[in-house]
């Protein structure tokens, strides 16, 4: 029988017992809907997490460390690069080399140190980091109170919100969203003075004159000892960042930011310097780590590979994102399994409906065979009926699942609104999910049709026609 005739006959048979077949189809639709709703939620949550990572503005950033210094990031990937002893120092030459790699916008040294800042004569210890002037356009400074540094060497600071709260003596209580201090409450800090105490590293022989800001880049003498000189530097608070620009760095993240050039020129004693006392000095500055800005998130991987090849360790948010993707793959799997359960139950409905149809249409099957229908014609007819129910159920189910998802989204946003949080799209139905769900429903239906179809095909026409 031709495919068109097959479908036409199948459609006619389905219309004959319209109530039963609609209920069966509805069963499939509910199964598909639950599958779609579950997976749409999984996909939506994943997209949501991705958007938040992107907002942190670090998707185009690679952190480079020397293998000599740190072996912590990405152990598994170290095999493909030079071993630790062959690894190079992350010095100025290396920085320039990295900066000249394709797709690299800039590579700046990461300067961070823990130090004491005095505000209204009260000391506060925290991590301080240099922030390049190019970070001005970073999404992380969106919603900042005040303004960005006026120049790359201005004696100014931007505070992370939590440090600002600490200065104001307003540490928020955990877990109470409505207690959260808004950025506007921290406005009075702007323009106030902070005094930073820091230890300058002075290479020997050097002038005894204490170094101040804007000192030119010094070439340290060969041979290698240095002295440490203590300083104080008054700084003006110009901005308070609402978001955390350094969320990627975990416990090493800074809460106070200085203009990078200023931080560099202070020659503050850095943790790695202590280790240098046991090694020979290089004549140019050696950096603990570099922050490399890449032209786009898509180039991060190739830049990472190039830097690794040059003999350094790298870390990017993409590495963290890979872990996140793995988590969501597992989540999707579980959501998919739960969603499929309903479809599995619906497939039993198809088997039941078709077996009933065989009993009812016994005589009809006998007639078809008597007038020349082959076993495979009968089999394919039942298959077509199962497939038609599956396809219709799939289509209807996708629509239903879409509706359920919209409802969940609506409900969730209502809740978010009541919590004074911005609305989020926690649910998303990509095209592949729609197509996949329909194909899956069709497949499940055809598999359900296997047994009834072969049973119908095996029916003995003599017996079937005798049956009154």
């Amino acid at each position: 029988m031709k495919a068109y005739d097959l479908l036409e006959l199948a459609g006619r048979n389905l219309r004959e017992s319209v109530l039963r077949n609609s209920l069966t189809t509805l069963g499939i639709a509910v199964g598909v809907a639950s599958l779609v709703a579950m997976l749409a939620l999984g996909v939506g949550l994943q997209a949501l997490a991705g958007r938040h990572l992107e907002k942190a503005g670090l998707f185009d950033t690679v952190i480079v460390t020397s293998r000599r210094d740190f072996r912590s990031y990405e152990h598994e990937d170290e095999k493909d690069a030079a071993s630790a002893d062959k690894s190079r120092l992350l010095d100025e030459a290396a920085r320039q080399e990295i900066e000249h790699l394709p797709n690299v916008l800039e590579a700046y040294p990461d300067i961070r140190f823990i130090t004491e800042l005095q505000y209204q004569s009260k000391p506060h210890m925290t991590m301080v980091a240099g922030m390049p002037f190019s970070a001005k356009d970073n999404d992380a400074f969106e919603g900042m109170a005040g303004h960005f540094f006026s120049s790359d060497a201005a004696p100014e600071v931007i505070l992370q919100k939590s440090f600002a709260e600490e200065l104001m003596g307003k540490a928020p209580k955990r877990g109470r969203a409505d207690d959260e201090i808004s950025i506007s409450q921290l406005q009075p800090l702007l323009g106030k003075q902070l005094v930073m105490r820091y230890a300058e590293r002075v290479n020997e022989p050097a002038s005894d004159a204490p170094a101040a800001a804007a000192r030119p880049e010094v070439a340290p003498a060969e041979g290698g000892s240095y002295s440490v000189v203590s300083h104080q530097l008054p700084l003006t608070i110009v901005g308070i960042a609402d978001l955390d620009p350094e969320s990627m760095r975990g416990s090493a993240r800074a809460r106070v930011f200085l203009p990078l050039k200023l931080a560099q020129d202070l020659h503050v004693m850095q943790p790695a310097d202590l280790r240098d006392t046991m090694r020979a000095f290089s004549s140019t500055p050696v950096y603990l780590s570099l922050t490399v800005r890449v032209s786009g998130p898509k180039q991060v991987q190739s830049v990472q590979a190039a830097i690794k090849k040059a003999g350094f360790n790298t870390f990017s948010i993409l590495d963290a994102n890979r872990g996140l993707q793995r988590f969501f793959a597992v989540l999707d799997l579980f959501l998919g399994i739960f969603g499929s359960l309903a479809l599995a139950v619906a497939s039993l409905g198809i088997v039941n409906t078709l077996v009933m149809a065989i009993l009812e249409r016994r005589r009809e099957i006998g007639i078809m065979k008597a007038i020349g229908g082959s076993d495979s014609d009968v089999k394919r007819l039942f298959f077509a009926e199962a497939g038609a129910m599956g396809a219709l159920g799939g289509l209807f189910g996708v629509a239903l699942g879409w509706g359920i998802g919209r409802l969940i989204n609506f409900g969730a946003n209502l809740w978010l609104k009541r919590q004074d949080l911005p609305p989020e799209q926690i649910w998303s139905v990509p095209w592949w999910l729609i197509a996949g769900a329909i194909v899956f429903a069709l497949l499940v239906s055809l598999i359900s049709g296997l047994y009834p179809a072969s049973r119908a095909a095996k029916l003995d026409p003599v017996q079937a026609l005798r049956y009154e």
Binding site: M368, A370, I371, S374, D375
Partner: protein
């Protein structure tokens, strides 16, 4: 039309030949010998009546000739083809092309219109959609049902239903028409009408007709030859059970 029809065009050749054919059923403990060594020959173009009491095996023989059933032993040869050697797919094709069947209870599909019922064998034969309804309409018109195309079988009288069944049996132009008590559900006047139609097909198209009946009078009036069966065996015409 099937290719083997040319081989049987001569009136001397056999359309159907059965050789010592047996059909045994197992019903619980007991063995039922529906057919028990029947050897007979039916010439092409012949109108043969199979007569016998109920349970004599006449319907079993017809089902074997129709390729709906397979013999337990012996062989059924139709147009030179041993049906036992055919696969079930080939047997279906044989039923589709070489045989037309009508039944006592008409066996029309109730959910289909008259036209669709007649078109059904052509769907199996994969006749083009365009040609199909034309052929079916012509076939129905010839049997006087031109005005009933869109009706369902339940809206027709018994005689009309049997005529639809006849149209359906003829639509793929088979060489062999098998009729299983075609008048059994009809009053005598419509029964006669149907048999006149069958006789006409036999005469004008040279179609071989095998008709199962238990009405000897009808058989004598229409059939060229009568074959008697009793207890699954060929019997003499004088047998009181026939």
């Amino acid at each position: 039309m099937s290719s083997d029809s040319s081989a049987s065009s001569s009136s001397n050749s056999n359309a159907v030949r059965t050789v010592n054919v047996c059909r045994h059923y197992r019903m619980g403990e007991s063995l039922i010998r529906a057919l028990d060594g029947v050897s007979t020959e039916i010439r092409a173009g012949e109108f043969v009546a199979l007569l016998g009491a109920s349970g004599s095996g006449k319907s079993s023989l017809l089902n074997l000739i129709a390729g709906l059933d397979r013999p337990t032993s012996g062989s059924v040869v139709v147009h030179g083809k041993d049906l036992a050697a055919l696969s079930s797919q080939e047997l279906a094709k044989y039923r589709l092309r070489a045989v037309g069947m009508v039944f006592q209870s008409f066996n029309l599909i109730p959910s289909m219109t008259v036209l669709e019922n007649v078109e059904l064998p052509m769907r199996f034969a994969e006749v083009d959609r365009g040609q199909r309804s034309g052929l079916a309409e012509r076939s129905l018109a010839r049997l006087g049902l031109g005005a009933r195309l869109r009706h369902r079988p339940s809206e027709l009288s018994g005689g009309e239903q049997q005529r639809v069944a006849l149209a359906r049996a003829m639509v793929n132009q088979p060489q062999l028409l098998l009729a299983d008590e075609p008048t059994g559900n009809l009053d005598s006047r419509t029964g006669t009408e149907i048999l006149n139609l069958i006789q006409e097909l036999n005469r004008t198209l040279g179609m071989t007709v095998v008709m199962v009946t238990h009405e000897r009078a009808l058989a004598e009036r229409y059939a060229q030859r009568m074959v008697f069966l009793a207890d699954g065996k060929l019997a003499s015409p004088l047998d009181p059970s026939a």
